[in-house]
Amino acid sequence: MAPTPVNDLTPAGNLGPATALVCRECGHRRELGAFYACEECFGPLEIEYDFGGLTRADIESGPANIWRYRGLLPVPANVADTPNTEPGLTRLVRADNLAEALGLQRLWVKDDSGNPTHSFKDRVVAVALAAARELGFKVLACPSTGNLANAVAAAAARAGIRSAVFVPSNLEQQKIITTAVYGGTFVTVDGNYDDVNRLASEIAGEQEDWAFVNVNVRPYYAEGSKTLGYEIAEQLGWRLPDQIVVPVASGSQLTKIDKAFQELIKLGFVEDKPYRVFGAQAEGCGPVSAAFKAGHDVVRPVKPDTIAKSLAIGNPADGPYVLDVVRRTGGAVEDVTDAQVVDGIRLLARTEGIFGETAGGVTVSVLKKLIDDGRLDPSAETVIINSGDGLKTLDAVSPVVAPSANIAPSLAAFRAAGLA
């Protein structure tokens, strides 16, 4: 007989089109609730849906944020009525200059630095907050590499509930400040992200009314990343791109973009066509890339050492599923050095006026590497994700960018500097 978890909170409230939780590993199925790991095998639980008669018109008539896709998410139909940060519908930028620099014909940058706390994490947190409310949680919490910390602290402030955020103490100062400013309980931990993640899992086992968004509410939280996929398709005029390059930390974002594309195909909202998904990691924390290159279907954890701290997850929960997606679609996972990360940030900024964080630098440089190696088709329509804002990782570029000159406030000084 299957044992029943002892931490049942209230029965699931209104979770919209969501119908059940299913284990990705063993297929064990259970009712919706505050569960995140399969009681049989510890595998991750995935949300199943009944989308009913949802149409593209339903989406197009919705609000100009992720809630236009509420009919595809585990949230109540009136989710937009409760205070939230209203993330999403960020720019999809036609990147002709970057495309030309790299030898591509058509390239788009999905610039998710435009979210309320300047990263894609506002999407997942908004969905987690809505689900946590329905599941009866009282506190919004997380372990984070920084961007999630910002998003949780801000969303909890806006919702008027307590937050509890845990980050590695060596995090970029910008991300410490941009979390602390929102108030709430904010703890720096002397350890790397994987240590903080472990601590959060243990705390989650003790504090039953704390929703650790990416731990005990993870099945709901992760669904928020699907909205990146929905938006890309809708902004392309309800089409899928041919190729997409996505940064990989836990791997959740990449797998959920693929899930979104598959759902849109099944719903008949986009044409069913092949697309290839590529994953981008930093060499100093590239466990999924290493597994891909070695032909493994499991991911051996590593100890991270990279400036791309938002991607510095040495034991990525969704790593095996990233491998599944890139292999199924004919993509790849590649990694780049920290120097290439910095080059990528500068290239994106100089060609498109978009200042990405280190994860964006990883993605741009992996794109370049894949093109140079002939693994990405330069004639195929390509999308890359810029998942966060360069203002949060100033340390990465501060040694290599500077003003052109410092001059006295006189025309003579300007002329003397040779800047005309």
Binding site: P3, T4, P5, V6, N7, E25, F35, Y36, A37, C38, E39, E40, C41, F42, G43, P44, L45, P143, T145, Y193, D194, D195, N197, R198, A200, S201, E202, A204, G205, E206, F212, N214, V215, R218, A249, S250, G251, S252, V298, R300, P301, K303, I313, N315, P316, A317, D318, P320
Partner: protein, 92 residues
């Protein structure tokens, strides 16, 4: 005998009568899990797969060390050690 403390994740607490921490005996993780099974029948099959290996989505720590970075099931568990069993499906 080497007695250690084992932290039990929420989804395994039905096997331990709701206890979040239990004592077990054993000089290696393998022996500790066998002793856990003797006291809490059924728990080992949740932690280990059919081949007797630690399941893909379970992280086990002895002290601060992930046993995948140490000697896996052969990792030494000295007296007084803290063993933690944690679902891997988290983070990021």
């Amino acid at each position: 005998m080497s007695t250690v403390s084992v932290r039990i994740p929420t989804i395994l607490r039905t096997y331990t009568g709701g206890e979040s921490e239990v004592k077990a005996e054993g000089a290696t993780l393998r022996a500790v899990i066998a002793d856990l099974e003797a006291s809490h029948t059924g728990i080992a099959a949740r932690i280990l797969d059919d081949n007797g290996k630690i399941r893909r989505f379970v992280n086990v720590y002895v002290g601060d060390e992930d046993v995948r970075f140490a000697d896996g099931l052969d990792t030494a568990t000295p007296a007084g050690a803290q063993v933690s069993i944690i679902p891997a499906v988290a983070g990021g």
